[in-house]
């Protein structure tokens, strides 16, 4: 055995044990320091983070406000329906789960497509609908099989519904799933928190304009959640406040009658209560069914709607700009009186044309109307009178006067996206065209402006507003659809009906001249056939807007293709002495105003003033053609 000192070796070993002990002490001190750091120094921070972890705010989406007509008829409401929803984070294999679901519940390929799309757009832990509007039978079936599916649930959700279907669709608009652009609007309004959990947003019409009134206040449930995001228990709850209800100025029955009066024709009708500017009816046909959009429209229907030559998605009342044709004449007459260019009794001699710079501006009536005063010029719609008048007034006077009446500018109706139309003037032409020779206004161009043709293009709502203003003796209102908003929480009503926009500087005697002539139109003039036998006194004016430039050739209705046929117009108000309704009707490619538009106005006025309901769409009065030419 070699030399060895057990005692020394033991000492050395114990020394090393000591070192190990010291190391242990050091490491434990290190741990302790770490604990002190986490549990004392950083405690508040981690406390907060633990709270954040623990508590989750679950939004409770409020009931969207209702839309009611002026008499309380429900035009848009919500109904509760069962949806089958899947929480992707809780499902192992989505496709398999959906396949298995499809065995017990009808799931169409389009449902899958929609789900995929939602999945791409969704945030984590959200439950997404795979099927909407389950029947009670389907609900029962699923509940029997529920144990097989984790992360799949039946939920009762509220859906927007428009009970009238396509009825009044251009007024109501529709809601659809919230897009990024909608989210920007929500951010602008600083409403992000209030929109948590909301999946729909108004897209057009009142649903868009009054989105923030209709939406309501989102409620919140403070729930304790586990790491999987599952609610364990509710801590506190703040109830949602349903959105405010909109009560419209629209008379639903009137609207319905007006829509039906068009039959299968295209066009627009705007009826205004002159004393308030409230819209009684606003028709744009053809319509579309807004219910299609609520769950997300499928591509086929979308394409059909958008590619249809009838353009059902366009709100013609606000976005269609049409030459006013002869409906412009009463306004021209009023301008002449106001500006002192004509007196009511001043007559002109109408040879059937007006010669300006070697160009013949023809009158509709061959051989002319003979001696024509202001009354006759309106009643029989004499063109020559207005050719001359336009020439005498000059474009800038016309444009200024018509601009005061609201033509060529947005009326400010409470629906987004209204068109301006075109109020021609020298300044407008300069802006509109680029080449210098096009920018110049030619005096010859003023002539056809006088009979509502040429560059003139106004929306039906502008025409209706102008007529309503005359009916209201120059006191002008902003046309609007919402009468008042009912606050669901307080029950208080917030009136939207505005005070008058302005009172035009018109003389009552001048207005009376024009009104009187318009009464004449419906009793002995171009509107007489349509208003034969009416039990009230109405005032009106027919109009025909050229779609097709005839270049001197005579217009023969049947020889022109349907889409190139003239637009028929009619403006009216009644009762003549104390008007409660003023309107503008436009029938696209309807031919003469007296033919197609006046009978629609008659049905609407008959219902509004007498409560008479028509049995069929307004007739087309083929014989009225001659009447207009007389």
């Amino acid at each position: 055995m070699e030399f060895k000192n057990p005692q020394e070796e033991l000492e050395r070993f114990r020394h090393r044990l000591g070192i190990a002990g010291g190391f242990v002490l050091f490491c434990f001190c290190l741990l302790f320091a770490r604990f002190v750091w986490l549990q004392i120094v950083q405690h508040d921070y981690y406390q907060t983070r633990a709270e954040d972890n623990r508590i989750s705010l679950v939004p409770i989406v409020p009931n969207r406000g209702l839309i009611l007509d002026r008499k309380g008829e429900v035009l848009a409401h919500n109904y509760s329906a069962y949806t089958l929803e899947l929480t992707p984070s809780r499902s192992r294999d989505l496709d398999k789960t959906i396949d298995a679901l499809a065995e017990i519940i009808d799931i169409q390929p389009k449902d899958r497509k929609r789900f995929k799309k939602l999945l791409e757009e969704s945030k984590n832990f959200e439950s997404l609908p795979i099927r909407t509007r389950l029947t009670d039978e389907e609900v029962a079936k699923f509940i029997a099989h529920r144990y097989r599916f984790s992360g799949v649930d039946i939920k009762a959700r509220l859906f927007r519904q428009y009970p009238g279907g396509a009825f009044a669709s251009h007024i109501l608009g529709y809601i659809g799933r919230t897009t990024e652009r909608d989210e920007e609007k929500i951010e602008e309004r600083d409403q992000e928190a209030n929109y948590r959990g909301t999946e729909h947003f108004g897209k057009t019409g009142l649903e868009l304009r009054y989105e923030f009134d209709l939406h309501g206040v989102t409620g919140f449930e403070k729930v304790e959640v586990d790491a999987g995001g599952h609610a364990v228990r509710t801590l506190t709850r703040s109830a949602p406040v349903a959105g405010n209800n909109l009560t419209l100025t629209i008379d639903a029955e009137l609207q319905r009658i007006a829509e039906k009066a068009f039959g299968d024709r295209k066009g627009a009708l705007v009826a205004i209560e002159p004393a308030t500017g409230g819209l009684l009816a606003m028709v744009s046909v053809p319509n579309y069914d807004p219910n299609m959009f609520v769950d997300g429209i499928d591509t086929q229907n979308w394409r059909e709607l958008n590619e249809s030559p009838d353009k059902p998605m366009v709100n013609r009342a606000l976005n269609g700009a049409y030459p006013p044709g002869s409906t412009f004449k009463p306004l021209m007459a009023l301008a002449a009186l106001t500006l002192g260019k004509r007196t009511p009794n001043q007559t002109i001699s109408d040879p059937g044309f007006f010669n300006f710079g070697g160009h013949h501006f023809r009158d509709d009536k061959k051989g002319g109307h003979g001696l024509v005063d202001m009354y006759k010029s309106i009643v029989h719609s004499c063109d020559t009178y207005y050719y001359m008048l336009a020439n005498d007034l000059g474009i800038d006077n016309i444009s200024a006067f018509m601009g005061d009446l609201g033509l060529g500018q947005r009326t400010g109706v409470d629906i987004d996206g209204e068109s301006e139309g075109v109020l021609p003037s020298q300044a407008w032409k300069k802006k509109r065209f680029k080449k210098p020779e096009q920018q110049k206004w030619y005096a010859g161009e003023t002539i056809s402006i006088g009979i509502g043709q040429g560059y003139n293009a106004y929306t039906p709502i502008q025409l209706a507003q102008a007529i309503a203003t005359i009916a209201n003796n120059g006191v002008m209102f902003r046309p609007h659809l919402v009468k008042f908003i009912t606050d669901t929480r307080s029950g208080g009503k917030r009136l939207i009906e505005p005070s008058p926009l302005k009172t035009l500087a018109l003389k009552q005697e001048h207005i009376d001249v024009v009104k009187n002539a318009m009464v004449g139109v419906n009793t002995e003039g171009t509107g007489a056939r349509a208003f034969a036998g009416a039990e009230y006194v109405s005032a009106g004016k027919t109009g025909t807007a050229q779609v097709f430039s005839l270049k001197g050739a005579e217009y023969k209705e049947h020889s022109v293709k349907k889409e190139l046929r003239d637009h028929a117009l009619f403006v009216a108000f009644a009762p003549a002495d104390k008007p409660t309704i003023a309107l503008a009707v436009l029938v696209e490619n309807g031919g003469f105003g007296a033919q197609a538009a006046a009978p629609i106005a008659r049905q609407v006025l008959d219902y509004y003033l007498l409560g008479k309901k028509p049995k069929a769409p307004a007739p087309v009065d083929e014989d009225a053609v001659e009447a207009e030419k007389e």
């Binding site: 044990l17 549990q39 709270e51």
Partner: protein, 363 residues
């Protein structure tokens, strides 16, 4: 009565009071935490405890001299089984750690935690004469063979524990400081090389440690949630059963590797300090036993086993509190799981036996 009394006395004869007390206290903490974090596991844990204490009692009965005879066979069986795992092992969670023997599944790497200090202590006892460098080299080889097999399973946690066990023996056996420092320096130099050898998941664990917030829902989730649990516990804790992190399942593995976070959240800094003291006392007792052991084998074995307890405790608390990477090391005597508990109790049993036999040979 007397018979029963005698039986009891014989039963507790080899038991070391302080060690038993500390083990019992830790076991109680374990049951308390289990009752909070996942009470359904208590019956199982009691079962495990019973088995482990029985094994401890058996080990305490075996004198160190007898134990020495087991050293080589146990080591060889361990190597044999590890090779078996490498060839036929079951894969679970991406790692090949289990060997299915038909009637039961075993994890041979666990055996190595005891077999390693045993064989090395035996080896140095055999070469009791002043060990030469060559002896250290052979010892290192004995260490590296099973280590390589475990590391490639891969099982980083066990590999670290086995490495630590082996290293402690060699260190206590008197590895010269010069060599030690040389090794440390070359280990540092080789670190970039080792990085290349690590599995992706192992690298991720280290990267996650450096910045867990980078991937809060992925790899960093465990560490973030456990540090939140500890930090939110504060000085006095949220109270037993009231830890929101633990109770609402934000804590992963909350009954096994991360049980310390539950403890910390609910009992607070006070509890942590008490636990550290408890471990420190256990380790002190173990080192004392080692210091007074009769033979070199006993000294080395007791010292290494004690330091393994320390390693378990330090690595686990370190990883849960976010200062060490997450490796699968349980909190000794507290984490749920039978295998680790049995291994630890074998260690306690051996310590008791060494203590009991401290005088015999010296006489």
């Amino acid at each position: 009565m007397n018979i029963l009394r005698n039986l009891w006395l014989r039963l507790i004869a080899p038991i070391d009071g302080p060690l038993m007390l500390m083990t019992a206290l830790l076991a109680l903490v374990a049951l308390g935490m289990m009752a909070s974090a996942s009470p359904e596991r208590i019956p199982n844990q009691l079962m495990n405890l019973l088995v482990a204490l029985t094994v401890m009692r058996v080990m305490a009965q075996i004198p160190p001299q007898r134990l020495m005879h087991f050293a080589l066979p146990v080591y060889l069986i361990g190597i044999f089984l590890l090779v078996g795992v490498a060839l036929f092992g079951d894969i679970s969670k991406g790692a090949r750690r289990w060997l299915n023997l038909g009637f039961m599944r075993i994890q041979p790497s666990e055996l190595m935690k005891i077999a390693m200090p045993l064989i090395l202590a035996w080896f140095f006892q055999k070469h009791e004469t002043m060990p030469r460098l060559r002896d250290y080299a052979v010892a290192t080889l004995l260490l590296l063979i099973p280590l390589a097999l475990i590391a490639r399973q891969p099982d980083l946690g066990t590999a670290i524990l086995v490495l630590a066990a082996g290293f402690y023996v060699i260190f206590f056996a008197g590895l010269p400081w010069k060599v030690l420092i040389g090794l440390a320096v070359s280990a540092l130099a080789a670190a970039p090389l080792a990085w290349g050898l690590l599995h992706d998941y192992q690298r991720n664990r280290i990267l996650t440690l450096i910045d867990p917030e980078k991937d809060p829902l992925g790899k960093g989730f465990h560490i973030i949630q456990s540090t939140i649990a500890i930090g939110s516990g504060g000085i006095f804790g949220k109270g037993w059963g009231l830890g929101s992190q633990a109770q609402l399942e934000f804590l992963p593995e909350r009954h096994t590797d991360f049980i310390f976070a539950v403890f910390s959240e609910e009992i607070g800094l006070i509890g942590n300090l008490a636990l550290l003291i408890l471990y420190a006392l256990l380790i002190t007792r173990g080192l004392m036993i080692s210091a007074y052991a009769a033979t070199l084998f006993g000294r080395l074995l007791a010292g290494a086993i004690t330091m393994i307890f320390f390693t378990y405790a330090f690595v686990n608390m370190g990883m849960v509190s976010g200062i060490l990477p997450v490796v699968g090391v349980p909190l000794p005597f507290i984490s749920y799981g039978g295998t680790a508990l049995v291994t630890l109790c074998i260690g306690i049993g051996i310590l008791m036996s060494i203590h009991k036999n401290r005088m015999l040979v010296q006489k």
